[in-house]
């Protein structure tokens, strides 16, 4: 079975859902291949960004570095039984920006 590629639609939905200032981060998420596994509002291979924000958004300051670490190094056990892939091509600064953006959704 071929994967369904809804990135374009989902990216559009994401862009509409957030303030214009966050557009750069949606684009960054696209560039760093986040949308391969995560979508804005629907569960994909990983949890939706909306679900992550709903769970952790209240503790944004504390959780941003935790999620940034997870973006860079991967991990698992928090949303199911599929580990997240590490992304060694994402810098610490980009990982932090992405984590803050997701938690602000």
């Amino acid at each position: 079975m071929k994967p369904t590629f809804l990135e374009r639609t989902l990216l559009g939905a994401t862009l509409m859902a957030v303030a214009a200032t966050a557009a750069a981060d949606a684009a960054l998420a696209e560039r760093k291949f986040c949308f391969s596994c995560h979508h804005a509002t629907e569960t994909g291979l990983g949890p939706s960004f909306q679900a992550i924000a709903a769970r952790h958004g209240a503790r944004r300051a504390q959780m941003a570095p935790v999620l940034a670490y997870k973006i860079q190094h991967g991990g698992g056990g928090n949303w199911g039984v599929v580990p997240m892939v590490p992304s060694q091509n994402v810098s610490e600064a980009d990982a932090t920006a992405l984590a803050r953006w997701i938690l602000g959704l």
């Binding site: 079975m1 071929k2 994967p3 374009r8 291949f33 991967g74 039984v81 599929v82 892939v85 590490p86």
Partner: protein, 601 residues
Amino acid sequence: MIERHIGGSFVARGLYLLLSLQFGFAHGAHADFTVTGSVVDGNGNPIAQAQVVYQPPPGSAGASAITVFADAQGEFAFPQAFSGTPGASLPLVSRALGYEYRTQARSGSNQSRPQVTLLMDRVVNQAAVAPASAWLRQRIPERQQQSQFVMDCIDCHQVPAPEVRDYAAAIADMHAPDPAVARTQSWQMIVQYMNRLSAWEFSRGSRKADTPPQPDAVYSVNNEDAVAARLADRFGDRLEAIEGYAWGAPLAVTPQTAIYEYAVPEPNAVREAVLLGGRALWVADVATNRMYEIDIASGRQKIHEAPVDVPIGPHSLHRAADGGLWVTPLFNNVLSRINPASGEWRTWMVRDERGRGAGIHDLSFGHDHELLTDASGRIWFSDIGNNGVGYLDPKTGRTELFAAPPVPGRENEPAMLYGLIMNKARNQIWYSQLGIGAIGGFDIDRQQFFEPIALPDPNSGPRRITIDDADVMYVALYGGGQLLEFDLNTRRIIGAHDLPDTASAPYTATWDPVRKVVWIGTANGDVIYRFDPKTKGFQVLPLPRTRAFLRMIDIDRATGVLVTSYANIVELVQGPRMAVIIDPGDNVYPQRFAPNGETRQ
């Protein structure tokens, strides 16, 4: 230092010459020292044929790393002097399958001729040196499954590369109610993720920046569930240890063998490399419009930018008898010829009279691994885009394309017409079809295809091909882990020879016109094999690096050094991106390679 070099302006060339002279002067001002020594185990026993790798400090002239091999007494010597003053500890390590490097000790007080003893301990876990293929052939020993797996995954990365093993460990660490279900779900996720990355990589040149990649781009896995199930079944533990692997054949090394590795500044997606004039390494960067030119003595690099607006993705390199270097594009139909002396480019949009563009993979190689044209000077190419062959007449710009005949029973899979060679009489070209496990030929005078030959396993993966001086063709069977020997005169298979490691994913075969052997570069085995058609025997040349994802091998006509590259092409794949020169150390060619660019008789 890098300078951008467009069209070979006099200013740029003058600047380069000036800087080279300055660098040469500074280089000469340093004291030089030579390094010799021995490799021993904890009992003082020699470790014959151990690799000894010297990694000069950053900013040093020349190669990024130089490797030699210990002799039967464990002794080694580097062929060239290093510049500077040796520190208390030299940047040296030794490597051998089943051993781990521990420490070094200096003996002798001569500063300019340090002698070093390298200590290694015997270890059971070979993970530090063993190639990915060591795991693959143990975990998936069934040949048909092995070939399918190689064809599914190893176009983009080694399997299991360290990242794959890390992911297996992460899955094994999950606290899941049903670990088997968790494994399957996790590997399904990985395969889908890989397809997404592959689609992105291989559609670079054919889509606009704001358009998402097409999921059916080449090299995607189209049997995701089966691949994920096999991964869950066979890679179901932490994949931390590998034992009992052997290279599988005698090593093709001598105490004079030397391997020179040149890192290319990142980001890049280095593809093939050739050595021109004994001194300049030309390297294709498949992610851009660029060629790199590396001066092997100084390590200085120049960038040559193709004069086109679209990313051509320089891919296959073909030396021509007139000194030109032909460059095929990964992404579109822009064929280029670069004049290495002047840096000037010529480009052709290769389209037939109906406006159909060709998807060029290879130009036709002759037995000396140079571009060979037909009697009219036409350049023949494999057309992977249209599953055919075609020619460009560079004098008139005229192109004709010829569609290859279908292979019975294999009509429905993408054929991927890939490698190409021309016979001695220059009236036939022969090709491989990577996607369907077939080979075939085309009669140039009659403009007719011969009946294609289907190999037994559709996943055998015939890839780059070569031809000897008696019209015997050799085909690297990527999936099958074999070397196919095929006689063009009788149009019959002489043999399909199992490589010492069938999971090594042989990417390329190159005929060596002086040694009369075939060199086979692997993508998953971190080795080059040497095949002798007389004895049908193999030898192994182990490379000093894991993740040595090899592409084409060229052979320098003067010195007989092998020139190749570690081409980890997909941006997110970890691993070295280097051009590599290998002196087999057998003194068969009339001239001897020298890393300062001054070949000797």
